[in-house]
């Protein structure tokens, strides 16, 4: 067993245990934090596969942005844990069927001789100066340019739709227009008045 094997098994163990804890732990905030641990261990596994661009992007996008917002929402929600637990037994059969189906599907794809995943040889290991980032970039913008652009358009549509859905006209809200604030001069707000000084009463 080489050092890499030890690292692989240690990280995989952390990944599996934290994945299990995501669904079993009672507190939703802790569940979200375990999900973050899952992502980080997943990124570490990708690093072992020499996919450093994907690994760092996973941390940057999912851990650094998506999960922050996720945690945000989970922290602010007032979730009643007892209420959530109530339906557990009732939904257990449906959930079990879905889980078994997914496992079967995965097994069929991974173990089938038709997909060729079993016979695939060990991926070639490249040296330290091999730039993973440049490689992915050139493939994304040449061979896969249409799927890539379509995916980005879909994302933009989703962003616009999400913003449009949350936009509400609220007449009572007050907001600033900074350009008008900056354009204000003292004369607009303040009028100097000459007042005659009053004579002292005798």
């Amino acid at each position: 067993m080489t050092f890499e094997h030890i690292v692989f098994y240690a990280i995989s163990l952390i990944l599996l245990v934290s994945g299990l804890l995501v669904v079993t732990v009672k507190n939703p905030v802790k569940a979200a934090l375990f999900l973050i641990l899952c992502f980080v261990s997943g990124a570490a596994l990708w690093l072992l596969l020499e996919a450093e661009f994907l690994a760092l992007t996973l941390i940057l996008v999912y851990v650094g942005a998506v999960m922050v917002l996720f945690l945000f929402v989970v922290m602010m929600l007032d979730i009643n844990i007892a209420e959530m637990r109530e339906g557990f037994v009732r939904y257990l059969p449906v959930g079990g069927v879905v889980a078994v189906l997914m496992m079967l599907e995965m097994a069929m794809i991974l173990a089938s001789s038709k997909t060729g995943l079993v016979e695939r040889s060990h991926p070639v290991s490249h040296g330290a100066d091999y730039s993973n980032t440049a490689e992915i970039g050139s493939v994304l913008y040449t061979d896969y340019v249409y799927p890539f652009e379509i995916a980005s358009v879909l994302l933009v549509v989703a962003i616009v739709a999400a913003i449009a859905l949350t936009m509400r006209k609220r007449p009572q809200t007050k907001k600033q227009t900074p350009s008008r604030q900056i354009a204000t001069r003292a004369g607009d707000r303040l009028r100097m008045v000459d007042l005659k000084s009053e004579k002292k009463q005798p």
Binding site: E52, L56, T57, I59, L60, V68, M75
Partner: protein, 367 residues
């Protein structure tokens, strides 16, 4: 896998014979640990004396003297502060989530220190010269916000929670502007490796990226100030509204860790700005051979670590200067600046750069 010669690369020569009796993996381990110590001890000392410099400099800016009691002219003040932090009790609030409450300060300090692994100090003087070092730094600095979020939530306090919410939204917003500013640097340098980005800027003051990428430079540094939750963007602490924000329930060394993380992040942002936009260790006189070939003082004018340190100190001074000068931004104004000003500015400049590099003869300005 690294070999022993790269592991020993910039350590002093007398180290190598001391390690030869060890097995190879131990030699690599020991020399890497030595390098980590060589990087982190100056960083932590820098943090200690940055707190002192902050109090002194802001003191002079406000026509006060600042701390001057401990040691000659107050120079031992940071050591006294450290001892005080160490001896104080760490209070656990009632109904706080104990594990998360204790983990949170570490969560904010660890990324702030781990990011130094890829920072080059001179050509080749770097702990891990990895290809995607800029991405690594972006990834690690984006994890830092969890310390704040978890601390705010685990404290079981309204003020801490409000501070954490503010900090979370702010950091996420400014990270985008920061990332886009870095895209410009990537386009200009054609590399994600910090050492190569610096070497691309060689050739004197006007070859550094601050000039062709000026809007990105300004956006990057100001976003850096916002990322570290420093004044005028310190609504996360907002001592006049929410007492001290996310760390209000922390005391003793647990509080000191947040403090350390904040200052380590300040030094990191200053270092990155100097590396990315001001040519890192390169001298502004690079290319003027008559000056760099002068006897003795020629060394000062040549490239060297001292230039990097001068640039870092300059940006740190800006951090302190901002704090002494500007009143705190209101929360909605911070969001407006991040989303409606900085992100469009960076996007437009990236478009301008791309257009100039591929369709006009002025592309070399950006290389």
């Amino acid at each position: 896998m690294t070999d022993v010669t790269t592991a020993l690369a910039w350590l002093p020569d007398f180290i190598e014979p001391l390690l030869t009796w060890l097995p190879i993996w131990a030699q690599i381990l020991v020399s890497s640990l030595l390098k980590i110590v060589l990087i982190l001890v100056p960083v932590l000392l820098g943090v200690m004396y940055l707190t002192f410099a902050e109090r002194k400099i802001i003191g002079y800016m406000q026509v006060r003297v600042g701390p001057n009691r401990v040691g000659p002219r107050g120079w031992l003040q940071p050591i006294a502060d450290t001892l005080k932090f160490l001896t104080k009790e760490v209070i656990l609030p009632t109904n706080a989530n104990v594990y998360l409450f204790i983990i949170a300060p570490m969560l904010s300090l660890v990324p702030a220190l781990a990011a130094w692994a890829v920072v080059p100090f001179l050509d080749g003087w770097v702990l891990a010269d990895i290809d995607a070092s800029l991405l690594y730094i972006l990834a690690l600095t984006s994890i830092g916000v969890y310390g704040i979020l978890v601390a705010g939530w685990a404290s079981n306090s309204k003020y801490a929670f409000l501070g954490a919410m503010r900090a979370g939204a702010q950091v996420v917003a400014y990270e985008i502007a920061m990332g886009f500013a870095l895209v410009g640097v990537l386009m200009a340098a054609g590399s994600l490796n910090l050492r190569e980005i610096v070497l691309h800027q060689s050739g004197g003051l006007f070859q550094w990226y601050w000039l062709p990428l000026f809007p990105l430079f300004v956006v990057y540094f100001i976003s850096g100030v916002a990322e570290t939750n420093r004044a005028p963007f310190d609504v996360a602490e907002g001592e006049s509204e929410i007492v001290a924000g996310f760390h209000v329930e922390y005391s003793g060394i647990a509080f000191a860790l947040f403090f350390l993380a904040e200052y380590a992040n300040m030094i990191l942002i200053s270092t990155l700005t100097s590396l990315l936009f001001l040519g890192g260790w390169l001298s502004p006189f690079d290319g003027l051979d008559w000056l760099t070939e002068l006897p003795v003082i020629g060394l000062l004018f040549g490239n060297g670590l001292h230039w990097l340190l001068i640039k870092i100190s300059l940006f740190l001074l800006f951090f302190l200067w901002f704090r002494a000068t500007f009143p705190r931004y209101r929360y909605d104004q911070i969001m407006r600046l991040g989303w409606k000003v900085f992100i469009p500015v960076t996007l437009v400049w990236i478009l301008v750069m791309g257009f100039a590099m591929f369709y006009t003869p002025f592309g070399h300005w950006f290389h």
